[in-house]
C-alpha cells in the first residue's frame, strides 16, 4: 500500500511536476465538461463522505469549546446565582425564539425545522451552506430557508442527515419578489455570486430604502418573507425596467442557525418545473 502510494508520488513528481499538473488539470477540465447530473453526484458524494463529517466535527468542537468556556465562567459564580442566571438566560433565548417562530407560524402555518449551520463555502464567494437537518427530520428539496431576519435561500439537496442550502446570492437562484409599498412584482438574482440585483418595472416608482419581500409566485417561497431593502436604483438596458442593488436583511456569512419551512412546492408549478429539460 505504502509502496503504491510512493510510486504514485514519484510518478507525479517527475518532470518538475508536469505529470501532476497535466493530471489534475485534466481532472478539473473533465469536471467542467461533465453533465449537470454528474456534477451534482460528484458534489453530493464529496459533501456526504468527506466535507460534511469534517465540518460537523469542527462545528461540534466549536460548540464544545463554547460550552466549556461557559462552564468555567459559571464555576466562578455562586451556585444559586449561577443556576438562576442560567435558567433566566435560557428562558429569554427560548422566549425570543418562540416569539419569532410564532410570528412566522401565524403568518404561513407551515411546520418549521430549526437547524444549525455546520459548514459554508470556504471560498471568497459564499453561495452555499450546509445544515445539520435532512430527510430524517422532514427536510426536502426546494423547501424555503429563512432566519429571524429574513429569507436565506432554499434547500437544493437533502440527504438523510444534512442538507445543502442554496443562498440568495447563488447566481442560479432567481426569485420573484414584490416591493412592499407599491406592491409591484419583479425578480431578484445575483449575477456575480456576491451582490443581489432586482429588476422591477420602471413605472412602479420604487426608490432606495423600499423593502422587498417574496411575491409568492413561482410556487417555492410563500408570499411575504422579507428579502432586503433597495440600496440603489439604476437604469437598466431595458427602458421599461429598473435595475436595483439590494441589501439583504440577513448577512449570510454570520449565520449560525436557520429555519427550514416544511413547505413543498405547489404541485402544479412543480410539475411545470419538472418538465423543464
Amino acid at each position: 500500500m505504502l509502496r503504491a502510494f510512493r510510486f504514485i508520488v514519484d510518478l507525479f513528481s517527475q518532470r518538475h511536476g508536469v505529470v501532476a499538473f497535466a493530471f489534475f488539470l485534466a481532472l478539473g477540465l473533465l469536471m467542467r465538461q461533465a453533465p449537470n447530473s454528474v456534477r451534482q453526484s460528484v458534489v453530493s458524494a464529496a459533501l456526504g463522505s468527506v466535507f460534511y463529517p469534517a465540518q460537523l466535527a469542527v462545528s461540534s468542537l466549536n460548540a464544545y469549546r463554547a460550552v466549556a468556556e461557559e462552564n468555567v465562567q459559571l464555576k466562578e459564580e455562586n451556585a444559586r446565582l449561577r443556576q438562576e442566571t442560567y435558567h433566566a438566560r435560557e428562558g429569554l433565548q427560548e422566549l425570543a425564539r418562540l416569539h419569532t417562530l410564532v410570528r412566522f407560524d401565524d403568518k404561513w402555518d407551515y411546520p418549521i425545522v430549526t437547524s444549525r449551520v455546520v459548514g459554508h463555502n470556504p471560498g471568497r464567494f459564499l453561495t452555499t451552506l450546509v445544515i445539520n437537518r435532512g430527510n430524517k427530520h422532514g427536510v426536502k428539496e426546494d423547501m424555503p430557508v429563512f432566519s429571524m431576519n429574513g429569507l436565506v435561500g432554499k434547500i437544493t439537496k437533502a440527504s438523510l442527515t444534512h442538507s445543502r442550502v442554496q443562498l440568495l446570492v447563488d447566481p442560479n437562484l432567481k426569485l420573484s419578489v414584490m416591493e412592499r409599498r407599491t406592491r409591484v412584482v419583479g425578480f431578484l438574482e445575483s449575477m456575480d455570486g456576491h451582490t443581489l440585483t432586482a429588476m422591477v418595472p420602471a413605472h412602479a416608482g420604487v426608490v432606495a430604502g423600499d423593502t422587498l419581500v417574496t411575491s409568492g409566485l413561482g410556487g417555492i417561497f410563500p408570499k411575504g418573507i422579507p428579502v432586503g431593502t433597495v440600496k440603489e436604483v439604476r437604469k437598466s438596458d431595458l427602458d421599461v425596467m429598473r435595475q436595483m442593488d439590494v441589501e439583504p436583511f440577513q448577512e449570510f456569512s454570520i449565520l449560525e442557525e436557520v429555519f427550514v419551512m416544511e413547505k413543498e412546492p405547489d404541485w402544479e408549478i412543480k410539475e411545470l418545473l419538472d418538465e423543464e429539460p
Partner: protein, 162 residues
Amino acid sequence: MKNLKWLWLLIMFVVCFSLQVSVADWLSIFEVSPDFVIIFIVAVAIKCGPAAGCFWGFAAGFAQDVYAPVEWLGAHSIAMTIVGFVVGQLNERFLTLNMPAKVGVLGLAYMICDGIYFGITGLSKEIVTNLFLTKSLPGCAYTMLIGSILFYLDVGKKKTHV
C-alpha cells in the same frame, strides 16, 4: 519522514480551511477578508515544489467547488491547480524566494487565481471589472499583508532552529 511531511501538510490544510471558514470572517474589513487557502497553496508550492503545489491546489480548489454553484464545478480546481504549479515552477526555476519575493508571488498567485476563475465561470466583463476592483484587489492586498506576517513567522522559526 516523507509520510510525516504529508501528514503535516494535511493537518495544515485542515487548519487553513478551518481558519478560512471561521477566522477569515472575523478579520473581514468592509466585507474583504484574507484568503488563508491561497496562502497555504503558495507556501506548499514554495516549500515542496510544483507537484505538491498541484496536488494541494487541486484539493483546495475542489473543496471550494463543492460549495460553489454546481454549474461552476471545476473552476476553483483548475485555477488553484494552475496557481500551485506556476508558483512551484517560479520557485524551482527562476527565483530565489526571499521574503518580499514570496509576498509578491502570493499577490501574483491571488490575481492569477481570480483571473482564471473569472475566465472559466464566464461572467460578463462589467461584473468582472466590478469584482476585480471591489473584491480581488483589496482581498489581494489583505492576503499579502497576512501572508507576509505568516511568512515572517515561518522564517523566524527556521532561524531559531539553525
